[in-house]
């Protein structure tokens, strides 16, 4: 341990013990990066909600007078199209704004699916052990062994390209993380006294699973969910880029990049901005997830 570790310990005079949420917020707030990530995520959410108000044009409106118009600050650009237009005259800014809706939708759907299925399987594996546990965990090992995007690609190739199938495929690919976390937490928790006590007073298995053990597994799941948003957005965008995710004319950022590929030689803006949005959003969720982990995990607390 470096010398400064003791210096940042709890201040001497603390009036009353903080609530768990207050304590969490105290740790989280101290991490400037994590707060910045949170601010960015909230901003993207607001943009997604108020997309019709914020966007200067409808996302699918083509205008054959303004093919590949450069951004406003470049020669030939105009403030009617602040970030320029694409090859069929659609406003890039408006498409990016509406694209935020799709990316967040992807994150929510994938993480929700993965949590529901993953937590259920993890609870079953952790509670019942035996052959069920072995079967579930082996299956998860197989999913983890196959390169993630490759598996997602094959699933989509077989189910057919499209946003829904892409989300389903990504959810399958990220599933093992949720199963493993839940199972590990369940096994640790069931060994503790409070579970034995609950069992001794006659709590049913379902009650043990859902009202005793599950709430205590929440912290690692919250962290994984935040990091899971970034994986979901990144993988779904990669599928979109390969033509397997959201289909044109949907303003999904990865799909926009796929459309933009052939113009890389003469229109830098159609390529640059959608990728910047993907990077920014994924980075924000990753920083947020790291911050949540540091604030929630007592072992890492300095």
């Amino acid at each position: 341990m470096p010398a400064d570790a003791t210096a940042t310990a709890v201040p001497a005079a603390m009036p009353k013990p903080l609530s768990p949420i207050g304590e969490f917020w105290g740790y989280f707030r101290a991490n400037r990066g994590a707060v910045a990530g949170l601010v960015f995520v909230v901003a993207i959410m607001l943009v997604a909600i108020f997309a019709p108000i914020l966007a200067p044009h409808p996302p699918d409106l083509t205008n054959d007078a303004v093919f590949l118009k450069p951004p406003a600050w470049q020669a030939g650009g105009s403030w009617a199209y602040p970030l320029g237009t694409d090859a069929i005259g659609r406003d890039i800014l408006s498409r990016l704004i509406f694209g935020a809706r799709l990316s967040l939708l992807i994150g929510v759907v994938v993480v929700t699916l993965a949590i529901i299925v993953g937590v259920t399987l993890g609870l079953i594996a952790g509670f019942f052990r035996g052959w069920l546990d072995t079967a579930i965990m082996r299956l998860m090992d197989i999913i983890l062994t196959l390169p993630s995007l490759l598996l997602a690609i094959v699933i989509v190739a077989i189910l057919g390209p499209g946003l829904m199938n892409a989300m389903l495929a990504v959810a399958v690919v990220v599933l093992p993380h949720y199963v493993r976390i839940t199972r590990a937490a369940v096994i640790t928790e069931t060994a503790k006294d409070y579970v034995t006590a609950a069992r001794a007073v006659g709590a049913t298995r379902a009650r043990l699973m859902f009202s005793e053990v599950l709430p205590n597994c929440a912290a690692p799941l919250i962290v994984q969910a935040s990091l899971g948003f970034s994986t979901a957005i990144l993988d779904a965008a990669a599928l979109g880029f390969l033509g397997l995710g959201a289909q044109p004319p949907a303003p999904e950022w990865g799909t926009m990049l796929a459309d933009a590929r052939e113009f890389v030689l003469r229109a830098w803006w159609v390529v640059t901005f959608p990728g910047l949005m993907i990077l920014g959003t994924v980075l924000a969720f990753n920083i947020l997830g790291d911050g949540l982990r540091d604030a929630l995990d007592p072992k890492l607390k300095r």
Binding site: T145, P147, L150, A237, F241, R261, V271, T272, L279
Partner: protein, 336 residues
Amino acid sequence: MLRFVLTRLGLVVPTFIGMTLVAFFLIRLVPGDPIETMAGERGIDPARHAKLLTEYGLDRPVFVQYAIYIGRVLHGDLGKSMITQVPVLNEFFALFPATMELALGAIIFALVLGIPAGIIAAVKRNSIFDQGVMGLSLTGYSMPIFWWGLLLILLFSVQLGWTPVSGRIDVRYYIEPVTGFLTIDAWLSGEKGALRSALTHLVLPVIVLGTQPLAIIARMTRSAMLEVLGEDYIRTARAKGLSSLRVVALHALRNALVPVVTVIGLQVGVLFTGAILTETIFSWPGVGKWMIEAISRRDYPVLQGGVLLLGVIVMAVNLLVDITYGIINPRIRHAR
């Protein structure tokens, strides 16, 4: 030791069987039976359809079909491409060296930059350099590499004209394949300019594919190094009056690299995933591009065989890493 290796080998068998199950049943999720799929949009007359079904054993129960399939897989028969009629295994190994060359280049790139960056960041903890490395590492980890590739093409190929946009070597050169690694073959051929051409084609794809492993390795090296630097024996070494450089390079690094080696092994999956995107962007003729093309042509045997082969390679590398780790670290070996 032998017991340890055998246990690990034993764990691979169910995973392999599971992978063949996944490969076998995924293809069966395609609507219609394989004969209809093979016939494609042209259609097929019912009599010939029935005959082919019997011929391929597709009228037998599913588990019999699976047994036939796994028997063929174990004999190295992964079926033929529906488009080229070439055995999948032959196509795979013809293209695999290109992917290997790319992946090896990427991992070398990641190691050469990542390990020193991680060490310096740990030694100069909380410095501007450290914060820079950590920030860049997080950015690299979050990078959509298909976009990163396009940006690099925009900058180095379009604006500066330094590197070619796609392919492995200039069309002027014909290089006889010896090793399958074009940089080595070009060098062996002794043709003037061929090696240079192969290298300039390689550099951008290598950077693109190496970015995520670089981010992970830098981060991992830093945290492993920080942990080791806090140990008592390092304090002892410093107390003896050894120079800082000596302590870091001789005493700390050796132990810090153990977890890093594991992480390098685990990058194989990341590399294959990245190779699919990188090869697509740079028209790099490897297995990733081959599989993406198989999707658009609905060439299911290629897809099925490719997934299985890549999965087996990842599994084999993971096993090797596991065993190596056990050899380096006796605590793992003996912990049941």
